[in-house]
């Protein structure tokens, strides 16, 4: 069976400025896949390519063997319906309450009775630990709560693939830990594939089973594999340096 997501020879560029060239990697079903790299290396850009907000300069992205990038943007509905995306700042719609934020995609995609929609919204918020906040507006929430609400909204349509852009950045260690547990639980119980952008090393080691490191210096893929193994055994010094927080990486055995 084809991998869940296949990235082939992907080159990303803003005009003439090449961000990353010739990326090749696969994301398997039920992976928790981390995209990491230094600030400004193009992690968010890669995410925007994966979800179709930007078109690649070259190369293609396939979902279960079906070519996503070759599909006309207007015909990408079947792909996009299976995505859930949490944006870096939450991107909650500020004029809607949390429950309405989650209800809106539900109401758009199916004709459910209002009670069911409400129950679903409450359930999603309860999953991220926000029960009781259904009728709050995003502006009344703290930063961490907005992030969690963003995840609840990303899960509104029971997505097959969940993309999370820096979910734990700016959270206290306990909240970040809870979020990691949540991500693991979601993968285990809902069987979602999860793609995360993060540079929180603690999260990376505790949840990711596969990862890609984008190398800013060479504008190419720096390393691919399980982060714990990369930390100790990668042959790319930049990767070991990153995963060891800049402390002198132990010499390769």
């Amino acid at each position: 069976m084809a991998a869940k997501i296949t990235v082939r020879d992907l080159t990303m560029a803003y005009g003439d400025l090449v961000v990353m060239r010739d990326l090749n990697f696969d994301i398997q079903d039920k992976d928790i896949f981390v995209i990491m790299g230094g600030s400004g290396c193009g992690k968010s850009t890669l995410l925007r390519h994966l979800i179709g907000l930007r078109e690649p300069a070259k190369g293609s992205i396939l979902y279960e063997g079906k070519d996503f990038t070759a599909t006309h943007p207007a015909d990408r509905g079947p792909f996009i319906q299976r995505f859930g995306v949490m944006y870096q700042s939450g991107a909650l719609w500020s004029s809607l309450t949390l429950a309405e934020n989650i209800a809106m995609p539900l109401e758009e995609s199916s004709k459910l009775p209002a009670k069911t929609v409400r129950d679903l919204a409450c359930y999603k918020l309860a999953l991220v630990g926000l029960s009781g906040f259904e009728d709050y507006y995003p502006s009344q929430l703290s930063g961490g709560m907005k992030k969690r609400a963003g995840i609840a909204r990303a899960m509104a349509l029971d997505p097959d693939i969940l993309f999370l852009d820096e979910p734990s950045a700016g959270l206290d260690p306990l909240s970040a830990r809870r979020l990691d547990d949540l991500i693991l639980a979601l993968r285990d119980s809902q069987g979602s594939t999860i793609v995360i952008i993060t540079h929180e090393l603690a999260s990376i080691f505790s949840i990711a089973n596969n990862s890609v490191f984008l190398d800013t210096a060479t504008h190419t893929l720096g390393a691919l594999g399980n982060p714990s193994e990369l930390r100790d055994h990668s042959d790319n010094p930049a990767v070991r340096l990153f995963l060891n927080r800049g402390e002198t990486p132990p010499p390769l055995p």
Binding site: S95, D119, L120, C122, Y123, G129, S131, A185, Q190
Partner: protein, 376 residues
């Protein structure tokens, strides 16, 4: 997949020894048919679940169970951990996750139901507070002006010149169009009436005096309310939403000096110029209509010049200074008071335009009364 290939989802509450069991069957999918519930839900958690006939399911199933469990929150039953005996493991995990954190919502944003009297009272208090904010804002502006004259006000000169450009030169096309058309309309309407007295030539006087005293300045003020007042409110409002104003404060910039002062100065400087320009363009509009109805432009010009005195011509310009201040103030004030969300920025913009236009008309009436008293 067509929904017909799915079995209808059902939930059956049944007595089961001491407790009540919940039998779940069919396919629980958002796209599928509605859930068929039989039996009455008990006031306590089900003692066991039967899921032998359960097909495929998405979040609607845990949402259904959770919705029932949450109705129990107030009763003592909620204290015990809900048993999920009989549920598949993934559902059990999800529900435990959903119930893991106790309600921490605090006060819900409650729907208040006030009596009519209370509503009236709140409205009155609201209006009073709005007045106080306005006075406060005007006061702060005066203080800020004081600092400007003492040379202590800090703002970026380039910001000021940018604003001058935005509310001056860039407004010329729309001001030209509107005042030309206003001049045209005045000449048409007046021309027909005056022709019946055989006094067609006095169209020049009519257009000149009404443009210079009223129409030029009022139309310019209304255009600038919609154009520049709204822009001020939206810009400052979104800066507030982004905490940019807090950032200014922490670096020791007074947001008043930095944002409000250059805008007010720019608009107060540009309004008189725009008004003079609008007056001239309006008179040209009248001249065009005159030329078509048989008044030679030279004659029209002589008549216009003869009808205008420096006093008349300066009235509009004097008013324009005040209108400029009023428009800039209401734009900046609504922007500074805006809430912290994108919806609040929209509201602030609306309020800025409404306040500006209202105040312009109110001030114009006051000036009309004043000039009548002074016999100008």
């Amino acid at each position: 997949m067509p929904p017909s290939s799915h079995a209808s989802p059902t939930a059956v509450w049944q007595k089961d020894g001491e407790g009540v069991s919940l039998t779940l069957a069919g396919d629980w999918l958002r796209e599928g048919p509605e859930v068929n519930v039989t039996g009455t839900a008990p006031a306590h958690a089900p003692s066991r679940y039967q899921t032998d006939a359960l097909g495929s399911h998405d979040s609607t199933l845990p949402a259904f169970i959770l919705a029932h469990l949450r109705t129990l929150k107030s009763t003592a039953d909620a204290q015990q951990p809900a048993p999920f005996e009989g549920l598949p493991e993934n559902l059990r995990n999800l529900l435990q996750l959903a119930l893991a954190v106790p309600e921490e919502g605090g006060p819900q944003s409650e729907e208040s139901h006030d009596s009519k009297l209370a509503t009236l009272g709140k409205l009155t208090l609201g209006a009073w507070h709005a007045c106080l904010t306005m006075f406060d804002f005007v006061g702060q502006t005066v203080l800020s002006l004081g600092r400007l004259f003492k040379g202590q006000a800090r703002f970026r000169r380039s910001d000021f010149w940018m604003t001058v450009q935005q509310c001056g030169v860039e407004a010329l096309p729309i001001v030209s169009l509107i005042s030309f058309l206003i001049g045209l309309i005045l000449a048409f309407v007046g021309g027909v009436q005056l022709a019946s007295f055989g006094a067609s030539l006095y169209v020049a006087d009519l257009v000149a005096i009404s443009m210079v005293r009223e129409m030029g300045v009022v139309m310019t003020a209304i255009i600038m309310s919609g154009r520049t007042g709204a822009a001020f409110a939206a810009h400052i409002g979104s800066m507030k939403a982004n905490e940019e104003i807090d950032a200014l404060r922490t670096f020791g910039f007074d947001p008043f000096d930095f944002l409000v002062l250059p805008r007010i100065l720019a608009l107060v400087l540009m309004m008189p110029l725009l008004t003079v320009y609008a007056d001239i363009v309006g008179i040209l509009g009248g001249m065009l209509v005159g030329a078509f109805s048989g008044i030679p432009p030279v004659l029209y010009y002589t008549e216009t010049v003869a009808s205008l005195t420096i006093t008349t011509a300066s009235l509009g310009v004097i008013k324009s200074v005040f209108f400029g201040a009023v428009i800039a103030l209401s734009g900046c004030m609504q922007g500074m008071k805006a809430g912290n969300s994108s919806a609040a920025v929209g509201e602030a913009t609306t309020r800025a335009v409404v306040t500006a236009i209202t105040m312009v008309v109110v001030f114009d009436s006051a000036f009309a009364a004043l000039f009548t008293l002074l016999d100008i």
